[in-house]
């Protein structure tokens, strides 16, 4: 029964989304505030009904109602409560319902943000919310026609197939909702681009209205990608955090385009320039999000994350992708203003932001080409090919490095035209800090060149962020700025935190990639072995049972430097899903991890090593991952910067309060 009610709620939300699109279109065309209010109601009700539909689905999961196909395939009565809830979106149909809900909420938010004064901005918001209503309706149409989460199974099975155990993890319970806040957030950015082209909005006002949405979507995407990388690190048990896998690339491409958009909108809002370019980027961001959904859902490119394959649905998403992309660019070709905006010299903030966009767009195109290349190669020459980390590291790395070198300078340049180099002089200290970082890495840790150059870049970026903060605090001396630092507005922190985060991330990523060590050892109970610079003694292997899995747990005593501590990596076997997983043990020492994965008994699969005696031995894979904490910490700082920019921009909508603070 609850399933039918849920389906009814979803249908109601579908109808209300169509209503939202029609009402708000009419409101904007007639300039009718009453219609705008009705459209807002429709959007709000659509969100509520979409939420009720999701709650109905969660209820079905909580009750383990196996007459529902997706519950039967993805749940089990013994599964812990949180994964019963998360199981609602840990599958294709449920995640599409979540997608629809997020689309509705964004639509309601943009309709609510429209001021009630009947100004141009109000009608821009109304148009954007109308476009968002179309996007929600199309999402619901796809949900109801091609992936109904409330479909019944007859006869109902007695037991469920359980959620993929790799997904039964706290980070992965949160990962899809947050990633969708990012992906679907790009649809609002798209909606604003369409609304702007439709009404030929004045560029500065348009950028001002669109920028918070771009910041929101991009920041959520940052958090979502980081959670995914963190999950891959500790759950897959491979010791890596980024594999340049098609699914990862799918989320990274809109992130790169979104980063370009945020910087481009900065110029459009302040100087009215790059208006057309910002619109193109906004359209591209959503197209890339849909392309990502297509790549993930259709399985056209095989991936290590291949748990969501269904070619037929891929066609649907491809149709939506084509509609959004060609529709968007078609409208652009027809309605673009073609105005250059206020002029600027190449050596200026605008000029450097243009280079920033070149770097990010070329990086994004490179990731896109690398991801699609296996398809292109097979279609053109018939030859199969793989594109893996060696390609991306060799191409993407240097381009991005160039952008990172220029970033601190771009922040300090004047708008319009830079005269002389005085304002860049504080960066000389950054050169010194970069050298110190590199030398510290080489002398202190005998780092290879890649790690040393990344350390230098980190020093440069951190110094640049510090100089930026100093300037924003406005003190004549460092001490004075330190006292004033509390008075720096939130939006002023955005660039400081994000660029500092890039520095921290670069340090971690470079050092970890170049200097990670991996060793495999085999131990019998009571034996001691050396790996990753530490001594491991296997005290025993015990078995126990979790709610829906069996556990083999190794008890290790680790002597690392002067310290002695216990580690207990596990292997689990999820009996309902018939899937084994590894639960690694991680010891964090100042951001460097000692990472131990528990492998199979030696000889269990025709082992390669002849033991001297007949004792049973188990394999352990030991990774020493230096500074890996900096990777996730840096990414978190980047996201925090994005949220600061977002929150600092909310609530300032009245006319006549142009931003005078540094942007």
């Amino acid at each position: 029964m609850i399933a039918e009610i849920g389906l009814l709620f979803a249908c109601a939300a579908f109808g209300l989304s169509i209503g939202q699109a029609l009402l708000l279109t009419q409101a904007a065309r007639k300039g009718d505030s009453a219609l705008l209010a009705s459209g807002r109601w429709a959007a709000g009700l659509a969100s509520i009904f979409a939420l009720l539909a999701l709650l109905a689905l969660i209820a079905a999961f909580l009750r383990s109602d196996f007459s529902l196909a997706i519950v039967a395939h993805n749940s089990h009565p013994n599964k812990p409560l949180i994964y019963k809830i998360a199981g609602a979106w840990g599958n294709h149909e449920g995640s599409m319902l979540l997608w629809c809900l997020v689309a509705c909420v964004y639509g309601f938010a943009s309709a609510s943000r429209a001021p009630k004064d009947g100004s141009d901005v109000a009608w821009l918001d109304a148009r954007a919310a109308a476009v968002q209503g179309v996007i929600s309706s199309l999402s619901f149409a796809y949900l109801l026609l091609a992936s109904n989460p409330f479909a019944r199974l007859d006869p109902a099975p007695l037991r469920g197939g359980d959620l993929n155990p790799l997904l039964q993890d706290p980070a992965l319970a949160l990962h899809p909702p947050i990633l969708y806040m990012g992906y679907v957030g790009m649809s609002v950015v798209y909606a604003y681009a369409i609304a702007g082209l439709w009404s030929r909005a004045e560029p500065k006002a348009w950028a001002k209205a669109a920028r918070p949405w771009a910041l929101a979507a991009w920041s959520f995407l940052t958090v979502g990608i980081t959670l995914g990388a963190y999950w891959a690190y500790y759950e897959l048990g491979w010791g890596g955090w980024w594999f340049w896998d098609p699914v990862e690339n799918a989320s990274f491409m809109p992130w790169l385009a979104g980063a370009a958009l945020i910087h481009s909108l900065l110029v459009t809002e302040r100087r009215g320039a790059f208006a057309d370019w910002s619109a193109i980027l906004a359209i591209a961001c959503f197209s890339l999000s849909l392309l990502g959904a297509f790549l993930v859902r259709s399985g056209v490119i095989t991936s290590v994350h291949a748990f969501a394959l269904d070619p037929e649905r891929g066609i649907w998403i491809l149709v939506l992708l084509g509609l959004a992309t060609f529709g968007g660019f078609g409208l652009f070709a027809w309605r673009a203003r073609g105005e250059p905006g206020e002029p600027f010299a190449m050596v200026s903030k605008e000029g450097f932001l243009l280079i920033n966009n070149l770097v990010l767009v070329v990086s994004c195109a490179t990731v896109l080409l690398g991801t699609l290349f296996p398809l292109i190669s097979e279609a053109v020459t018939g030859a199969t090919a793989s594109v893996g980390p060696p390609y991306f590291n060799a191409t993407f790395g240097p381009i991005l490095a160039l952008g990172l070198i220029l970033a601190p300078a771009g922040v300090l340049l004047s708008w319009r035209r830079q005269i002389g180099w005085t304002s860049l002089r504080p960066l000389l200290g950054g050169v010194a800090l970069a050298l110190i970082f590199a030398l510290a890495a080489i002398i202190g840790a005998s780092a290879p060149w890649l790690a040393a150059s990344c350390a230098a870049l980190a020093g440069w970026l951190l110094w640049g962020a510090g100089v930026d903060l100093h300037r924003r605090a406005g003190g004549k001396t460092f001490g004075e700025s330190l006292k004033n630092v509390r008075r720096v507005p939130l939006r002023g922190w955005a660039g400081v935190l994000a660029h500092a985060g890039l520095g921290v991330f670069t340090l971690g990523a470079g050092v970890e990639t170049a200097m990670r060590q991996e060793t495999t050892i085999a131990l019998a109970v009571g034996e001691t072995g050396a790996a990753g610079g530490a001594q491991f003694r296997l005290d025993g292997v015990e078995t126990s049972e979790g709610p829906n899995y069996y556990i083999d747990r190794a008890r290790l005593t680790v002597t690392d430097g002067g310290a002695t501590y216990a580690m207990a990596p596990e292997r689990r076997y999820y009996w309902a899903a018939r899937t084994p997983t590894t639960e690694v043990a991680i010891r964090d020492t100042f951001g460097s991890d000692l990472y131990v994965a528990f492998g199979e008994p030696v000889g269990a699969s025709g082992g390669k090593v002849e033991a001297a005696d007949d004792k049973p031995r188990w394999r352990f894979r030991v990774n020493r991952n230096p500074l890996i904490g900096y990777i996730f910490g840096g990414a978190a700082l980047i996201a925090l910067g994005g949220f600061c920019g977002l929150i600092g921009r909310l609530g300032r909508r009245t006319a006549g309060s142009p931003a005078k603070a540094p942007v």
Partner: protein, 130 residues
Amino acid sequence: MIAAIILAAVMGLEAPLADPAAEKRAQALFMEIKCVVCEGEPIAQSGAEVAADMRIRVREEIAAGRSDAAIRADFAARYGEEVLLRPSAKGIGAFLWGFPLAAFVLGALALWRNAASRRRQTETLEPEAD
């Protein structure tokens, strides 16, 4: 999921090469060769038995004094081009490898020409602080 099953099935345990420089070359090659039964994973990370065999083969070839290029060619001949995660730069691969630099240079050139054409207009502009 398949990858996870294979991963848990075995974790390779092979003797590293005695010469650290040779072992480093082997480790680098492990990152460039795809495990043929996994999905998009290099043999460096894979726990699959085939991957372990492939790692042993890489070490044997290095010990036999073969160059990295020759080893890559051997693997490509045996398992097909798609075994190489560093795709070849021949044929259509030239486009793949050439694209990033070409796109960047063309983009930069367009920016530079655009700036040059507007120089007269912009060289009298007054700077504007934040």
